[in-house]
Subunit: 295 residues, 2 copies
């Protein structure tokens, strides 16, 4: 496959860094013929996220951008609101921890204390809190040009990435028009999305004119996170779940899946598609560009 040139990559604000030493490791083994092989595999390390003095979760992550991951996770779980002023984010590489500090105690911490008193464990409440955040939410009716969809898919697939280097990883890309801006990868696809959310929050970048591209499936959780971030369009090369489609329709999110070569399916928001590209003029994906089951 022909990869993108440096000029293409320089369009990104943040591009993948497949050469970074900390992100992959060479491992020895044997192949199907019995021949010894050395292969590159992605790293995976625990990162424990604290909100002030409270331990929230341990995520398994590739380990880049821990501050964005922590901020984005807390945002997407509704544990950090617009009104909360983040005073510091401290990453400790030796302890694998990141501590997000706010000026005052957050409403989540208050809520967590209450939950603790009743059920003793907050795990089950996280999803409910995310759904709560959707109430009354309506996304801007941002149009999507099919020419931009095709251009984005083409550029993203040609971008040198950890996926192309070592496989077994998911990618999420924040895009504007036909330009991919921030390309995050992680062993968990939700981490990749959370890192985008953290970047948006940290930089104060508006979301209403953006599109989110993911290599993963369009599940309820992915749709909810995109909507909570205020991004009105979500596109993927993978498929849908029924609840993901239902929530997208409910909040007015444009949902495009199975985007490969000239093909795609739009299961929510098709009236916002502007068909300015002739699908017949778009080449089918060459086989080498196909992602093969990065689960």
């Amino acid at each position: 496959m022909q990869l993108a040139s440096t000029a293409d990559i320089s369009d990104y604000l943040i591009a993948p860094d497949p050469g970074a030493a900390r992100l992959t490791r060479t491992v020895a083994g044997v192949d199907h013929t019995g021949a010894p092989v050395r292969t590159s595999v992605v790293e995976e390390r625990p990162l424990t996220i604290f909100l002030n003095s409270r331990e929230i979760v341990t995520a398994m992550t590739i380990g880049d951008y821990p501050e964005y991951l922590a901020l984005g996770f807390l945002r997407n779980q509704g544990m950090l609101a617009d009104a909360d002023e983040v005073t510091r984010v401290d990453f400790d590489e030796e302890l694998d921890t990141v501590v997000v500090r706010t000026a005052t105690e957050t409403s989540h911490e208050e809520k967590l204390k209450k939950k603790t008193r009743t059920s003793g464990c907050a795990v089950g409440t996280v999803f409910g809190d995310m759904m709560e955040g959707l109430e009354g939410l309506t996304l801007p009716r941002t149009p999507v040009r099919t020419s931009e969809l095709y251009a984005l898919s083409h550029k993203i697939n040609r971008t040198p990435s950890l996926y192309l280097e070592a496989g077994a990883i998911h990618g999420t890309v924040l895009c504007q028009g036909d330009r991919p801006l921030v390309y995050m990868e992680d062993v968990g696809r939700h981490n990749a999305v959370d890192k985008i959310a953290g970047w948006l929050f940290d930089t104060g970048t508006p979301a209403a004119d953006k599109l989110l591209y993911t290599t993963g499936r369009l599940t309820s959780e992915m749709v909810i996170k995109t909507a909570l971030m205020g991004i009105p369009v979500l596109a993927s090369r993978s498929g849908f779940t029924a609840w993901g489609v239902e929530i997208a329709q409910q909040v007015g999110l444009t949902l495009i899946g199975r985007l490969r070569g000239q093909r795609f399916l739009c299961l929510s928001g098709e009236t916002r598609l502007i068909r300015d590209a002739d699908p017949a003029a778009i080449a089918d994906e060459p086989r080498q560009q196909r992602r093969k089951g990065a689960g």
Copy 2:
């Protein structure tokens, strides 16, 4: 693609049921040409798991085998030990809850009370508890014939499944020799594994002579769960993470990845491979059999 005949499917103790009404839904949308389409997508629903009176987690699941999912989740998280006597498992379809009851309070409940007192939230401790379960664990040195690997991969890929029907789903298959026994699918690949764990626990089936096949990646969590189940071999068509490989080597688990057609990589336990098949005699996968990025 030629699917397996009824005779092949009847070899399974539990096979996928892609025709089951509750598991997929037909959704309307448009395709890349603007033509209206109706497509089949997988369901995804919340299931809240209780251990006795304690709410443990809400999992997003396709919804089949909720009892196995609950039992397997609790087993794999180390919340239910061999010594715990399960007296009842009650699934309530209307409330989307499943309650696992034990004869006496489990040590996990005791532990959770302690954690609650200190950190107020048990989310971050779940992974630590799983790692704890690995201490001192050594798996049986069960040999693996490459002829069986190839036969399993061929049979599993030809089995009618929700993946072939609607995509966007992961599969995990418990196998013995060249025979796939229990094939579970779910929107989350960990749910599919947990349902296998629940089945093993419920039926009291020995694990030492089994192989686990997954469509997902060989991450640390997948390797840990397989080892905790006592299954000595884990195979996948997807790739590896570095920590997954490290844990497999540490507990003596045979780890085979990127298994497609005649190809595979073995990154742990290669001395236990018995090479009784000529890879050159194995056909490459026809393109239609490839799983395309079930993320």
